[in-house]
Symmetry: none
Subunit: 383 residues, 2 copies
DNA sequence: CTCTTTGCAG
DNA sequence: CTGCAAAGAG
């Protein structure tokens, strides 16, 4: 027996609107923790992962795990029959091949009941990459939507560069090239854990001393390598899940040693790209002195990470852009997919972009009791 | 000579919007009583019947009956040239082949004049079934529109069941089955007298006593058979015509007198929109609280008719569902047509559904000085 | 001829 | 921003 009562049918409506163009059929895997959905997009390029925690429901019961295989279009048709504020109850017997959906209008006697036919869907066990990322950008989801929508008019791909300068979204097209630079707010944007965030905090206490090491942008380009190297040593990767709390210094340290050897290559590539790609534009990349104590003070360590309290705070003011970066990152993605992802702006006003070179981008909309996440492999070379 | 002056061109605009997808050409049969239009839809499955009583016109003159054959699309083009609140005058000589349409803007000196070419249309004498019905449902026209629109996503047909439980609209489709149950408000829903219509006037005087007989909808399901039997004895079939007034028992009295004054015109059109359009947004429009005394205190009886003010509640609170039933009715209809009919919600915020088993459904939008009615034969068997 | 897509009005 | 209707494609 599975039963979940949602206070606002609109949540599901928005969710379906967000993913309907990526996924046609998917299993809603229900267990005692909540409802999970994982699916590859139709062309198996992107992966979408959704969690609706049981805490987000007014009432939730799931005696044993059940995969509810639904056709997204069909489910959406049923959901369109709900008014946004209807109370929505999903029910299914353990062995049933239908999902019962009931809408109760608040304040009226209208009760609508739908039985959605379920399907058996091979749950291609999707390996969700569990990666540590070199950069995280937290920004307004609507601004992200706007940027990718705008750029999608110019070309098919966008290159996302995260550097000390900020995050740059650039697209080249036949008719025009375009790029959008978001600088990121200083104090909020402090690098967590490693470099970026670490500094911010670190700076406060010990910043002065480190400044020496820090390279103001544009000051010797030659130094880049050096700087990068340092960054890498620190190796503190940004972790997706736990990051919220500690994006964690402690872990960082540990990593430092391990990773070091690790992926210097990538960094270089990026740097190169930057320079090559558009000298003028990117050049300043490193820039901004403030940001830079390339060296991360370990002192910052665990403490301040989460700003007091609220989750929302973690993501900053709705319009602020928070950038955490361990090393420069430069990746190219298909705008078509990003535009699709960005439709999830309906569900939450902040989006997080996790990136490492040559690793799939993670676009994450984390709302209170759940999330919608997308993974998209970068384009390699020219394609 | 025919001449009719309408205070608001919007009435005609809405009428045309409502029927344009069903009818391409039709005769506006004008006589001293008003303007009648009757036509089969293009596929000869549904019948539409419109009356604009002379009382709805600011000025009306028709020396002798004239059929004005118009192409609906052409007339609509002309009507789109009017502002909603323009005073609109239709004129035609007895032998003319054109209809002269003049718009006078209120408060300005703008006068527009159009001559619409008329056509000769075979007036297939349409036999309008004159039936007594076993069930009548009075509900918000926008809610009706919403329901048939929702269900049309699931399948092609809807089964409408009227029972003590209320009225249920059910559709089966490949992807999902759905049903919407409206319980109907008790006190208002008393079976009128002969069940339905007879009472209305009677009640005023003796209303209280009758309540006993009245069955609030949804009360004891078990009793159905018994109740039905009784009801049937009375045999009072629900008649279409006179009902108009009744729709509101109490009000009727008032109405009789009141309406005359006024211009029953369209009053409420706007109201309806709320529900349909966008649930959440508009909701507040009418502002809730005021609207709902679901149960109406009989005390209010005659007086409150138009609720203070504005709303046209003749047919009950705009959101209430009134169900009158002599016997259970279960019929299946093509949703495509119902969806088309439901566009008439623009003209009036309440709709009446008259049904008897195996007889065409009558969907009636009765606004003050006229009506728009649709007849649709039920589907038989599986088709 | 149907279906999908695109543009327009409320 | 949404649904609705006209137009283009398969």
């Amino acid at each position: 027996m599975f039963e979940a009562k949602l206070n606002e049918a609109s949540l599901l409506k928005k969710l379906l609107d967000a993913i309907k163009e990526l996924v046609t059929d998917a299993n809603f895997d229900c267990n005692e923790e909540g409802i999970n959905l994982q699916a590859m997009d139709n062309s198996h390029v992107a992966l979408v992962s959704v969690l609706l925690s049981h805490t987000g429901f007014k009432k939730y019961r799931c005696d044993r795990p059940i995969p509810l295989g639904v056709n997204i279009t069909s489910l959406q048709k049923v959901l369109r029959c709900a008014k946004d504020d209807d109370i929505c109850t999903l029910k299914s017997a353990d062995d049933a091949d239908i999902l019962n959906i009931v809408y109760e209008a608040k304040n009226t006697d209208r009760i609508s009941e739908y039985d959605l036919k379920l399907m058996d869907i091979d749950s291609d066990s999707l390996g969700i990459p569990d990666t540590d990322y070199d950069a995280r950008v937290i920004m307004s989801s609507s601004e992200f939507a706007r940027i990718v929508r705008d750029l999608s008019q110019l070309g098919e791909s966008v290159r996302i560069d995260v550097s000390k300068e900020g995050v740059r979204f650039g697209a080249d097209g036949e008719a025009a090239n375009g790029s959008v630079l978001l600088k990121g707010k200083g104090p909020i944007g402090k690098v967590s854990g490693g470099p970026v965030s670490g500094n911010s905090k670190g700076e406060e206490g010990s910043g002065d001393g480190e400044d020496e090491d820090a390279q103001p942008n544009g000051t010797g380009d030659g130094d880049e390598d050096e700087e990068d190297a340092e960054v890498k040593k620190e190796k503190t990767k940004i972790k997706k899940e736990k990051t919220d709390d500690d994006v964690d210094m402690d872990e960082d340290k540990d990593k430092d040693e391990d990773d070091e050897d690790g992926e210097p290559e990538v960094d270089n590539d990026d740097d190169d790209d930057d320079e090559e790609g558009s000298d003028s534009k990117k050049r300043k990349k490193k820039a901004k002195g403030s940001s830079k104590p390339a060296k991360k003070p370990k002192t910052s360590k665990g403490k301040g990470k989460r700003k007091s309290g609220n989750d929302s705070d973690d993501e900053g003011e709705v319009d602020s852009v928070i950038i955490e970066m361990n090393s420069h990152v430069s990746l190219t993605f298909s705008l078509k997919y990003l535009v699709n992802f960005s439709k999830t702006a309906n569900m939450h006003n902040r989006v997080q972009l996790y990136m490492s070179n040559d690793v799939p981008l993670l676009v994450s909309y984390d709302f209170g009791p759940g999330y919608v996440r997308y993974y998209l492999a970068p384009k390699i070379g020219d394609d």
